[in-house]
């Protein structure tokens, strides 16, 4: 497959599909089928990426590079390492399920919705492939446009507020990153990430660049205290939008930390790791409590996303402390590895949770917990799956949720047992808010007469939730293929961390 520009195909296939959908999709059925075919084709095209990636060698593979802007030495440069491959497959997999999941619920301007989703998929894949900072930034920002439209047109009652907040908030963060990138370009004369990573930078420069990156990525993750756009965006977004947002867009922030902050500003990252770790721990505990008191299901899961993503940032930045202070490279690998597993797992679990809420919402058109109760009595299959995903959400061993959290806590313990103790708090509080949600929605007596008329899952919903369940279970029981895939890439990142640039 080496002769095929596989990464370009992955990026542009959905975008070409989107144009076709817009052009031919006057009939909603055509639009739906065409988008499904496109996403399936993209998923199939992403399999050779996984199969042919040489995980033992690690490093950037499937490299493509064409001159883009000669004057700035910006290239259309693509390449993936194990981390990116995992995220790309997550993207292509989730996109198929999102299209299937939107089959029924989206009835208004179907072709535009499907096209926006496809463009978004292309942009997200582009983010994970880009090895040129300018190209990365273009994808990074461009993906806001389809998401802005998705929330704004097909969202809930307060969609306009939510989508404007989403757009401006995320734009605010990333534009500071742009300044940092221009500064780095001034230093190195090119935009390639590899050149940025090897450029010598003083401590002050690194600190400024680090905080510029932090502004961009922390808002995307989102970390406490810049997370407030997320609950609004999630609540108002249509189900498909929520799934993409939670499952993939949040990962862009974590990916950015690994791809930008760690290699480009290793010394500043180490110096200020405590800031990120502190923010993560606050998110784990405080946001957990906030999730507990929500009466809107989507908001609850949104806050739980913030808390879970805090594990990702914790895992990434704890590894710095481990490398520099304790020279414990193994534990550092564990931390980053755990962060990555947590990202993939959270992609599946949060995607599944939002899909579940979508299933309920389609039946009752309410997201309020108090409107439900006793769903298990009328929808036994759905109830079972919901409970399963909830268990994964609180990190039950045997599900994917456990693996990542466990690895991160284990790594933290080797740095500082107190950090591990606070982080482990999530196991309790996560269980509290998730199980309480299950108790109120799934169990109990049917009190709402409308709930009594619910029908169990239809075939499409089965496909979506069943696929997510299979992924969650597979990753939980046997995460080795995933960790093997990323192992050498993580090792390379950790090795690079040991070198000071100042």
């Amino acid at each position: 497959m080496a002769q095929w520009p596989l990464l370009s195909i992955l990026i542009w296939l959905p975008i070409v599909g989107a144009i076709l959908v817009l052009a031919l999709g006057r009939d909603a059925r055509v639009a739906r089928w065409l988008s499904l075919i496109t996403t399936l084709a993209t998923l199939i095209a992403s399999l050779p990426l996984y199969l042919n990636y040489d995980a033992v060698a690690g490093g950037m593979q499937f490299i493509e590079s064409h001159a883009w802007i000669n004057a700035l030495k910006a290239n259309y440069a693509l390449g993936v390492d194990g981390i990116a491959v995992a995220l790309i497959v997550l993207t292509t997999f989730t996109s198929v399920l999102v299209i299937i999941g939107s089959w029924g619920p989206i009835q208004k301007r179907v072709s535009q919705y499907m096209a926006a989703m496809l463009v978004l998929e292309g942009m997200l894949i582009g983010i994970f492939c880009a090895t040129d900072a300018l190209l990365f930034y273009v994808f990074f920002e461009a993906m806001l446009i389809p998401m802005f439209i998705i929330i704004g047109i097909w969202g809930g009652p307060r969609r306009v507020y939510a989508t404007l907040k989403f757009f401006i908030y995320t734009f605010l963060g990333s534009i500071f990153m742009l300044i940092a990138l221009i500064y780095l370009h001034m230093k190195t004369g090119e935009f390639s990430l590899a050149a940025f990573a090897t450029a010598p930078l003083g401590t002050t420069e690194q600190a400024w660049i680090f905080f510029a990156f932090l502004a961009g990525f922390a808002i995307k993750v989102p970390m406490w205290p810049v997370h407030t756009w997320l609950p609004d965006a999630h609540v108002e977004a249509p189900t498909g939008g929520s799934v993409i947002l939670a499952a993939i867009m949040l990962k862009v922030g974590g990916y950015g930390f690994i791809r930008f902050s760690l290699p480009i500003t290793p010394d500043a990252s180490q110096e200020y790791a405590w800031v990120v770790i502190a923010m993560s721990l606050v998110a784990v505990v405080y946001i957990g409590y906030v999730a507990l008191v929500q009466d809107d299901m989507k908001k609850l899961i949104a806050y739980s996303s913030v808390a879970h993503m805090a594990f990702v940032t914790l895992g990434i930045f704890i590894s710095l402390a481990l490398v520099r202070n304790y020279a414990n490279a193994d534990a550092a690998r564990l931390g980053i590895q755990g962060a990555m597993v947590q990202m993939i797992s959270h992609g599946f679990v949060s995607g599944a949770m939002f899909s579940c809420i979508g299933v309920l919402y389609d039946r009752l058109h309410s997201r309020m917990i108090k409107d439900y109760g006793g769903v298990l009595n009328v929808m036994p299959w759905f109830g079972g799956l919901f409970i399963f995903f909830s268990m994964a959400n609180c990190g039950l061993p045997g599900t994917s949720g456990f693996v990542g959290e466990f690895m991160v806590i284990l790594a933290s313990f080797q740095s500082n047992p107190w950090i591990a103790l606070v982080a482990a708090f999530t196991l309790i509080i996560g269980a509290a808010y998730t199980l309480w949600l299950v108790k109120r929605v799934i169990f109990g007596e049917v009190t709402n007469p409308k709930v009594a008329k619910f029908e169990d899952l239809n075939a499409r919903e089965w496909i979506v939730l069943g696929s997510f369940a299979a992924a969650v279970l597979a990753l939980g029981i046997y995460p080795k293929p995933l960790t093997d895939l990323m192992d050498s890439s993580v090792l390379q990142i950790v090795n690079a961390l040991m070198l000071s640039k100042a």
Binding site: A71, R109, E141, I145, I153, F171, L172, I175, I179
Partner: protein, 484 residues
């Protein structure tokens, strides 16, 4: 004194001569045709612009060197070639966007075309100017034509008001410029820009030069519409017929860039240490005033007028370094801005109908339901103005920010992006009304019968994406013009 005349000079000025001759011919032809045959004037004018563009292209010298003609009065170099091409292009675009609008209001008279062509001639002279006289000549030809264009709709009070404001403030700006020029002439004893630069060392009263410089900068800021000399701009954009706003909002901005470049770098380059700081202050003021006041507007034309002020501020970021790379970035910026502004103003003209101006932001409500294609084109223009990749406007912003940072004005770049974030809001508001709000009426939009208009605006809109993905050649072209 005997002024030597070199016939070869005519070759250098050939495009301008052809444009002048053709304009006079069109003036005569238009006298003899019936109003129903005005399309002849329309297509002749377009053809004239196209022919001039071809001649500029064919006569283009080696881009970095260039030739001078008429004893240095007229410069024919790479910079003027690039600027002229885009002046001609945007003038042509605005003629396409104007026809339907003016016809529906019974304003489609031959004067529209003549004034646009004369204004274009003025701009071409201006960007080729090698002496203070030619600068002023080109500028006044542009300005007088523009005043008349704004007053085109004689029966409209707001049009007349806008024209008077434009005229009075424009005359004031011209006065400032002239006064500054006279100081510089007094100090150096020369009108030739190159000679002025050459005599810097031996100036007897350097204070006069600095004094003149201040007046020049004020005059330039007036003409560009940079804050705090921006007062005329919103009223003129708002009051002028939309079809005229398309024109005065686009091509003259390119000419204003040429004006600033010729006078500041061409004539007063050695004083750049002083004027870069003045321009930096103007840039901050424009960014602040433009972006903040645009938020409060409910009229789209006014909003775009304030956004123009902010874009001028952004463009000035390219000037603060006083380096060729910076000018190249500024030129790229102004080209990107005008290409986008023509779409935005053109769309207002396209959607307007007889008795319905479509200039309030709320008039765009639910456009996506009524005409998804034009909503998408307008959306592209808005995102491009906001500077969201992968559209043209983003890369222009990238380049001027880079120019400012390279010049050591990091603080200015940060100020600029802070205001850019504020600016995002009002562009998104237009997208919001088009996409998220329900249309007042559900029926499909009645589209103008002018097929050329629909095609041209679509191509213009799609160009913003294409130039966003492949802006390298255009940037290389700008760089070559400045010898970067």
């Amino acid at each position: 004194m005997m002024i030597p005349f070199n016939p070869a000079d005519l070759i250098a000025i050939q495009p301008e001569l052809v444009l002048l001759g053709a304009t006079c011919a069109i003036l005569l032809i238009d006298l003899f045709i019936k109003p129903s045959q005005r399309d002849i004037t329309h297509w002749l004018s377009i053809a004239t612009l196209a022919l001039t563009s071809y001649l500029v292209w064919r006569g283009a010298p080696e881009l970095s060197s260039g030739v001078t003609a008429f004893n240095g009065m007229f410069l024919h170099d790479g910079i003027s070639v690039v600027l002229k091409q885009f002046i001609l292009l945007t003038s042509g675009l605005s003629l396409f966007y104007a026809r339907n609008y003016m016809r529906e209001r019974s304003l489609l008279v031959g004067e529209l075309y003549l004034l646009v062509l004369f204004a274009t001639l003025g701009m071409m002279l201006l960007v080729s100017a090698g002496s203070l006289i030619t600068v002023y000549l080109g500028l006044e030809l542009l300005a007088l034509s523009s005043y008349a264009l704004v007053a085109m709709n004689r029966d409209s009070a707001s049009s007349a008001e806008a024209a008077i404001k434009y005229f009075v403030l424009g005359a004031l700006a011209s006065g400032l410029l002239l006064y500054g020029m006279s100081m510089i002439y007094g100090a150096t004893g020369s009108l030739d820009l190159a000679a002025i630069t050459g005599k810097f060392g031996q100036v007897e009263h350097p204070g006069w030069l600095a004094f003149g410089l201040v007046f020049l900068v004020c005059g330039i800021a007036f003409k560009m519409g940079a804050a705090p000399f921006h007062m005329w701009l919103p009223d003129v954009y708002h009051g002028a017929p939309t079809a005229v706003t398309v024109f005065i909002g686009s091509a003259p901005k390119i000419a204003a860039f040429g004006l600033a470049y010729r006078l500041l770098e061409g004539g007063l380059g050695p004083l750049s240490g002083q004027w870069t700081l003045m321009l930096a202050i103007l840039a901050v003021a424009s960014l602040a005033v433009g972006n903040v006041l645009a938020i409060a507007q409910s009229n789209l034309k006014r909003m775009l007028a304030y956004s123009t002020i902010s874009h001028v501020g952004f463009m000035l970021l390219g000037f603060v370094g006083g380096t060729p790379a910076g000018y190249s970035a500024a030129m790229f910026y102004i080209i990107s801005y005008t290409m986008t502004a023509t779409v935005a103003f053109g769309m207002i003209a396209l959607l307007a109908r007889k008795g319905f101006e479509c200039e309030e932001i709320d008039d765009f409500k639910g456009l996506n339901q009524r005409s998804p294609w034009y909503a998408a084109i307008m959306g592209i223009a808005m995102f491009s103005l906001a500077g969201v990749p992968p559209l043209f406007g983003f890369f222009a912003k990238l380049l001027v920010l880079k120019a400012a940072i390279d010049a050591g004005f990091l603080w200015l770049a940060i100020v600029a992006i802070v205001f850019a974030i504020i600016g995002i809001y009002y562009y998104l508001r237009v997208v919001k009304v088009m996409y998220f709000d329900a249309a007042a009426e559900e029926t499909a939009l009645p589209l103008p019968s002018d097929v050329a208009l629909r095609w041209v605006i679509s191509i213009n809109g799609l160009a913003l994406i294409v130039l966003g993905l492949a802006w390298g050649p255009l940037f290389d072209w700008c760089n070559r013009a400045f010898g970067v």
